[in-house]
Amino acid sequence: MFKIFLSIVKRDLKLSYKQGNTSLNIVIYFFLSVSLFPLGVGPETELLSKIGPGIVWVSALFSSVLSLDKIFQADFEDGSLEIFNLTAIPLEFLVLAKALAYWLTSGLLLVILCPIFGLILSMSSKSILYLTITMLLGTPTLILVGSIGASLTVGLKRGSMLISLLILPLYIPILIFGVSAIDASINDVSAKPQLLLLGSLLCFSLVLSPIASAAGLRINME
């Protein structure tokens, strides 16, 4: 079963590399939305460093929603999902494999790029460190939670708007704990509770999201 899991991850990474546009769209959107804020609110270093974590987190949140509808759609349309359903791998693990591949091609890129955006927004090195840690813990959770919305709207032609409506409210705790961890580090207060909460949200979503997403896919495959 682990071999099938790895095959799916490898295939999705290869597909993403060959198609390329999805990851690139996410990165460009992230870059544009973060770099537009200094133009909008002004170049004051103090203000930017104060609102910087919020800007990066909200941008990451919207970037991750941008192409979430694609996570299962191609496999649903060409019948691959039905075949996966007839293999030794349970749909829950398929969801995990696809979410992992999606994170590696989108979420991880955002994590790698966020120090650059931290610098653009005049954030201190300590804030950038905490920004990177919170993004590392938060982006997989965003994708796992988003996969539930993607599974429910997989049969719809234009499901991305509906996904946003379904899952953005569920993103609020991740956003709050992510930004508050960085704020705590700026104010020299321990950010451990927020980081632990982000970690526990990741653990919860690792267990619960695949179950919910697999149920959504089964409903759509009927």
Partner: protein, 203 residues
């Protein structure tokens, strides 16, 4: 594959899609070694029948038994026996023929037979070509080449000859005959008369 008798028995089976009852009180037996063909008009429920046998349909009344046991009792184990060929081709356009087939072979743990399968479907010269450049018939042949590598007992084929030329249809029949000789089960929904000994069921 073990060469013992396998059978699927349907007892008073009904199945609805949406608000419409598509399959109504059907009882029949499908045995291994004999081809089973489903015929009917468009929308008569041929695809639903195959999807029901594959265990995709949940709103099924009546009993569907595989070797005496309900297919819903241990659904995952039952579904591991099924090769399902839908009307769609699970082919990624950016992948070559070889890459497409390799993925599905890897899923089944049959990576060693890919060259043979491509050769059988006369696709060995196109193996490095991205699938987006294949014709509809060639894509169908690439999809059907999965049949040459699978070890699954139950083949559910939905309009398998769509887009195929005569030579390809003969090759498909050859594969089916080989599978039936190994006591496999084959259920086909098709409009075309295949040159096979069949039990035919009209929906």
């Amino acid at each position: 594959m073990k060469n013992h008798e396998n059978s699927i028995i349907l007892e008073n089976v009904s199945c609805a899609r949406g608000n419409r009852t598509v399959i109504n009180n059907v009882s029949l037996k499908i045995t291994s070694g004999k081809n089973f063909i489903i015929k009917g008009q468009n929308g008569s429920g041929k695809s639903t029948f195959l999807r029901m046998l594959a265990g995709f349909q949940k709103n099924v009344n009546g009993k569907i038994l595989f070797n005496g046991e309900s297919i819903f009792t241990n659904q995952q184990e039952y579904q591991n026996n099924i090769f399902y060929l839908s009307e769609n081709n699970p082919i990624k356009n950016t992948f070559s023929c070889y890459e497409n087939l390799f993925f599905w072979a890897e899923i089944e743990g049959m990576e060693n037979n890919i060259q043979e399968a491509l050769k059988f479907q006369k696709l060995e010269n196109l193996k490095n070509l991205p699938a987006k450049f294949l014709s509809m018939g060639q894509k169908r042949r690439l999809n059907l080449s999965r049949l040459a590598i699978t070890q699954k007992k139950i083949w559910l084929l939905d309009e398998p000859v769509n887009g195929l030329d005569e030579e390809s249809i003969l090759r498909l029949c050859e594969l089916i005959k080989k599978h039936l000789a190994n006591k496999g089960i084959v259920v086909i929904a098709t409009h075309v008369d295949l040159n096979l000994e069949t039990d035919t069921f009209y929906l």
